[in-house]
Symmetry: C2
Subunit: 250 residues, 2 copies
């Protein structure tokens, strides 16, 4: 990440500053929205409280997410403006490692922004990016936010959604899809409805899901066991406990 920004890697806030720089560059490129900047700030606060680290329960969630994606018939990785700005190459790597499709799906949908995000992902190696056909609908959401690709999220059995809004996360769940949600707030509705709530920074989570997927692709791996051994309520409780740890240790 050292090409991105003029901050020494030794700086104690290096990762946080690089992340913030990428989000701001995303605004300049027209791929991150104002709401995305505010969401980034919320994430920063939760990540600070979490210790800016992948806690054990998040690593377990990332492993379970990898197993879900590998075992799916039609897995899709949903991409919003923040994820595209922060981890474009990591999204492409994850899709390649798991056979998932990439679909751009925005809270504040505009065709122009979807096209810019798709182009940004292609610049980072994506062969195909869905999201512009928009011939499917998620029941229960208003017009613009309901739009998905019929052969993408519309048909998917497993969807990874980084930083999803609560309404859409609930609606996708009601469609019977298995949702894997990356959200630094373990108390959010998205985290609550997810089969796999991943309480981690998307910058750390994505490469770790990919690493688990590469390992789980080995022959004789029992994906069902990995999936079955993960408990979403335990993972959310562990993350909340970490965020609200009773000992004031700094």
């Amino acid at each position: 990440m050292s090409d991105d920004v003029d901050v020494p890697e030794s700086h104690p806030r290096y990762a946080s500053l690089v992340t913030r720089h990428r989000i701001e560059a995303g605004v300049e490129k027209g791929i991150t929205s104002r709401q995305g900047l505010i969401a980034q700030g919320r994430g920063e606060a939760y990540d600070y409280l979490l210790g800016e680290t992948t806690i054990d329960s998040a690593d377990a969630a990332e492993r379970a997410a990898a197993a879900h994606l590998l075992g799916a018939d039609d897995p899709v990785v949903s991409v919003n403006g923040n994820a595209a700005a922060l981890v474009p190459g990591e999204l492409v790597d994850l899709a390649a490692a798991t056979g998932a499709a990439l679909e751009v799906n925005l809270f504040n949908r505009t065709e122009a922004r979807i096209e810019r995000i798709a182009a940004h992902l292609r610049d980072h190696g994506a062969a195909a990016v869905k999201g512009l056909t928009a011939d499917g609908r998620i029941p229960g959401l208003d017009h613009e936010r309901a739009k998905v690709d019929a052969d993408g999220i519309g048909d998917a059995d497993v969807v990874l959604v980084p930083l999803e809004d609560g309404d859409r996360a609930e609606a996708l769940g009601e469609m019977g899809k298995t949702e894997l949600v990356v959200d630094l707030n373990p108390m959010s509705r998205s985290a609550e409805v997810a089969a796999v709530p991943i309480v981690d920074n998307v910058v750390r989570a994505l490469p770790n899901i990919t690493a688990h997927a590469r390992e789980l692709r080995e022959p004789d791996t029992d994906l069902d066991t990995v999936v079955a051994e993960f408990d979403p309520d335990d993972a959310r409780a562990a993350a909340e406990q970490q965020i609200r740890r009773a000992e004031l240790d700094d």
Copy 2:
């Protein structure tokens, strides 16, 4: 606040949505920066964990802040882009109630943005707004961030700084000024160096400081006792305890 945005007051997230709308309107008016949007998101997360309420220790801090401002020789309320967008009228009311000057002081300083913020404050009733003379300097900060008005923050004995950055909060403290800092993160450096750390949303804090000031202006009020009875470490600890409360009560 009901004129601001088309959200019913009964909505459970009403205050939070109005606040967010004001910040976004601030971006459109050119008074809130991108960094300000990210800071807004961080504040939202801490406020959510705090319970989106003025806790007792914050009310005590707001009362102590009012006493400090009333007892000062040259009190100044520092205004940044977020404060101007969120609470322009409340800043003017506080200045009037305490005899404090208003001075625009930005992390990313541009003359144009200072002028827009000063105009915004005048639109909300401010008689005079400092910040454009910039003939004083805060020692230890780099050129642009060091600029203050010599007869404003430069000469002030007490400064209220909403949402200040840590470096400048430390530098102001080293100048011997009494700092009253509004910051939703009780673990921030700004909160740590403040004589009065106010761990509260600026939207709730400002009107409450003004209300305390009006009460403390009564004759025979012993401002020194109000100031002496406030303990900044206790207030920060109480706020952190609330944010990280051990019982998972939702």
